[in-house]
């Protein structure tokens, strides 16, 4: 029970002696005794790990050493900051569906991963974070570079381990990957004291797991599915709301079959972009705070809403009691704790989205939705996403052109803020791995490293990091990582010299009192990029040059490119539903009256 019990099994000196001399007979073959770190690397190999993103330090040296001594094929990528490692692993995991692996040292190395772990936790991204730790006898004694990272990260991991015995390493590694990537995925942290990683490991390298409290496989609740099918049959104005869960369970084809069978429109959350092709006639695009007007109007007027793998986040529902209050509300989610958390639903089904959708599709037929679809198409014509091409250079204009030039086929990774919302609106996502964004945590600094992770995962695909000047400066040190590995990541810095979203709020709700939002002192990002060998910098100032500059960056494939786009300084994102207000309170353009301060947090 005690998290602090310390075991003094083997001193590091003793361990070293044993390492060279002991031969152990395994179940079938004898092998040389590995140390804990080497057993760890073998465990990672068994999990099919391709890359480790990390930054070394004292307590992690045995593990970094094992990457050399085992001769493993796993590629170690040295990052420039531990936060970058976590976001790179996150981007890789979102694109491949496999856990990203991070390796850092104790103390500050470990605490620097906290933001990335939170980001992965909030967005259900599989990740395994390995942290070095001071030797066991020193735990709790304020040793050099000691941090109780097991305790610090407890609320933001799916699970975590503080390894006490070297022989536990193979089992823990196996369990960590199983936990990270089954059920509702999430980050798992393994904290490994240095004496444990350097002690001898005589355990079976493929031991059984010991997880009596974890049963992620949930059989499809057929009665629940039938109740949902019955509710759907009665609906004339249905909306399917697709979230990240559709992508995690790889249910995009299943969703499409269901939507086309029913002839029901589909809207997605920010993280659900890619779950349903946004150029499909049944697509309503993204809903929510800065979603399309037609998606939000559909939520107001529908008679049935079915969420698939979304958690009815506060960005989506506005005011919970008013959200779809007269509609039949249905929730499909793998996490039972999400049911009835934000809004009360009439029907639910807990389990894997793909299995449930496939079962459901067998029990439904085309609904009489012609009038409903015509009505929504009217909204699409009446309230399109729009911007003015003249005047200052607009972020929307650049993103719209990017969308056209890439044919929606690039992977887009965004940071957080105004550019993120405009990118979500104008970069139509048609491929399931085409959109990476920090939704739950809203982590500035996410976009660029996540794009690096995506590029590692898909070396031949075009990957764009759409970032703001604020967020980019938080993790731009990874330019070195991208340049060194000749990754052709394209970074589009939409530079308005402001923390633009906060400035927008201050303008709308705080009588335009700017406070802490002016990014005076920005470097010239194009020049900065050129400082890194192999990286290219471009400057974009005029609408007439957009295509030319974007194309130049697209054509450069020997390393990263950074486009410094000097955009209009004080533009605002619409549509907008102020935080804590109902969807009915959506505003489509700059209000002519003074707005009340929002009651929602942000």
């Amino acid at each position: 029970m005690s998290a602090t019990a310390v075991e003094h099994k083997t001193s590091p000196e003793k361990a070293k002696d044993q390492k060279s001399s002991i031969e152990v007979k395994g179940p079938s073959v004898s092998r040389e005794v590995l140390d804990g770190a080497q057993a760890l690397v073998r465990g990672l190999e068994r999990q099919g790990v391709e890359y480790i993103w990390g930054l070394s330090g004292g307590a992690a040296i045995p593990i970094f050493d094992a990457i050399v001594t085992t001769g493993t094929k796993i590629k170690l990528v040295l990052v420039r900051h531990e936060q970058g490692a976590t976001h790179i692993a996150d981007g890789y995991a979102r694109v491949t569906g496999r856990p990203g692996v991070v390796l850092v040292t104790s103390g500050p190395g470990a605490t620097n991963t906290v933001t990335g772990i939170l980001t992965a936790h909030m967005d259900s991204v599989p990740m395994v974070v390995l942290t070095g730790q001071t030797i066991s006898p020193m735990l709790g004694k304020d040793a050099f570079q000691e941090a109780d990272v097991f305790g610090i990260t407890m609320p933001i991991v799916k699970h975590s381990y503080l390894v006490k015995k070297t022989n536990d390493i193979p089992r823990i590694v196996k369990e960590a990957f199983h936990i990270a990537n089954t059920g509702r995925p999430g980050p798992v942290l393994i904290d490994i004291p240095k004496d444990v990683s350097s002690g001898p490991c005589t355990a079976d390298l493929d031991p059984p797991m010991d997880l009596p409290g974890y049963n992620p496989a949930i059989p499809v609740d057929k009665a629940g599915v039938m109740a949902i099918a019955e509710a759907l049959r009665k609906s004339k104005r249905p909306v399917l709301l697709a979230g990240h869960g559709v992508l995690i369970s790889r249910a995009w084809d299943s969703l499409r079959r269901l939507a086309e069978t029913l002839q029901a429109p589909v809207t997605t959350t920010l993280l659900g972009k890619g779950a349903f092709p946004e150029n499909h006639p049944l697509s309503l695009g993204m809903l929510g705070m800065h979603g399309t007007a037609y998606a939000n109007k559909a939520m107001i007027e529908c008679d049935l809403v079915m969420s698939i793998g979304s958690r009815f986040d506060d960005r989506i529902i506005g005011q919970a009691p008013k959200f779809c209050k007269d509609a039949v509300r249905i929730h499909i989610d793998i996490d039972a704790a999400e049911i009835n958390k934000m809004i009360k639903v009439h029907h639910w089904c807990v389990g894997d989205a793909r299995e449930i959708l496939d079962e459901l599709t067998q029990h439904v037929r085309r609904l009489d939705t012609n009038d409903w679809l015509n009505h929504l198409n009217g909204y699409k014509k009446k309230y399109p996403l729009k911007y003015k091409k003249y005047g200052g250079l607009k972020m929307q204009y650049i993103l719209d052109e990017l969308d056209k030039l890439t044919g929606c086929n690039a992977i887009i990774s965004t940071d957080v803020g105004q550019h993120q919302m405009w990118s979500a609106q104008f970069n139509k996502t048609i491929r399931p791995d085409g959109w990476l964004s920090s939704g739950g945590a809203g982590t500035m600094g996410y976009g660029f490293p996540a794009a690096i992770g995506a590029q590692f995962a898909k070396p031949k695909d075009q990957v764009w990091a759409v970032v703001g000047d604020g967020g980019f400066q938080m993790t731009m040190c990874e330019l070195a990582t991208a340049a060194l590995h000749k990754l052709p990541v394209k970074v589009l810095v939409l530079n308005n010299h402001y923390l633009g979203m906060v400035r927008q709020w201050q303008e709308l709700f705080f009588e335009n009192r700017e406070s802490g939002v002016n990014l005076e002192g920005n470097p010239d990002f194009a020049k900065l990029a050129e400082c890194y060998p192999g990286a290219k910098g471009f400057t974009l100032k005029r609408g007439a040059d957009i295509r030319k500059i974007l194309k130049r960056a697209m054509d450069y494939t020997d390393g990263p490119s950074v486009i410094n786009a000097e955009v209009e300084k004080a533009d605002n994102v619409y549509p907008m539903i102020p935080a804590g207000r109902a969807i009915e309170d959506m505003i489509l353009e700059a209000p002519k009256y003074k707005m009340e301060k929002p009651t929602g947090s942000t």
Binding site: A3, G151, D221
Partner: protein, 175 residues
């Protein structure tokens, strides 16, 4: 499943809840559970942790007060933890709930007989006796112990230690 089916793990709100959690005996499991309750504003009033019949597992009995609206949510959040095998909410009706208390009472020779008489009424054992004090051991439900403490109030209670509630489901079902 539809909303018409009540969750069998949720007891109706009666003011206080007693939750039984069956967990794998792994490091940090108590801290994880405590965090789930603390984050959502629940106050842990009593907590008993002890090894289960199978030493690989532990049993926690947690007395709670807080917003009844969130009880279903918090049970699910606790059940979701990797090391938790099951988490159930109980009331006095579906479970036997007991507590043990030790009460140290200052009692002179003249007062002793009356204290012993009260103790006897509540089925207490006298587990320590000196010239000036005695310790009564009482087991029963929490209300009984409250009543004993009330009756002893006219004497000098030097110390009171209560174990917190433990419970077991009635019938042949598992707790």
């Amino acid at each position: 499943m539809t909303t018409s089916v009540a969750n069998p793990h949720i007891a109706p709100y009666t003011g206080h809840h007693t939750i039984s959690v069956y967990v794998a005996n792994k490091p940090g499991v108590l801290a994880r559970i405590a965090q789930v309750f603390a984050r959502r504003g629940y106050n842990i009033e009593s907590l008993v942790v002890s090894p289960a019949m199978d030493g690989q597992f532990s049993r926690m009995t947690i007395g709670l007060s807080g917003n009844p609206e969130g009880m279903e949510q918090i049970i699910k959040q606790t059940s979701k933890l990797i090391d938790v095998l099951r988490c159930t909410d109980h009331t006095d009706d579906d479970a036997v709930v007991k507590e043990l208390a030790l009460v140290k009472v200052g009692a002179s020779a003249a007062q002793r007989a009356e204290v012993l008489q009260i103790g006897e009424h509540f089925g207490c054992k006298t587990v320590d006796l000196t010239e000036t004090s005695m310790i009564l051991q009482c087991t029963g439900n929490s209300e009984k112990i409250d009543a004993l403490v009330g009756m002893l109030g006219k004497f000098r209670i030097i110390e009171l230690v209560r174990t917190g509630k433990v419970l077991m489901a009635r019938g042949d079902g598992l707790t």
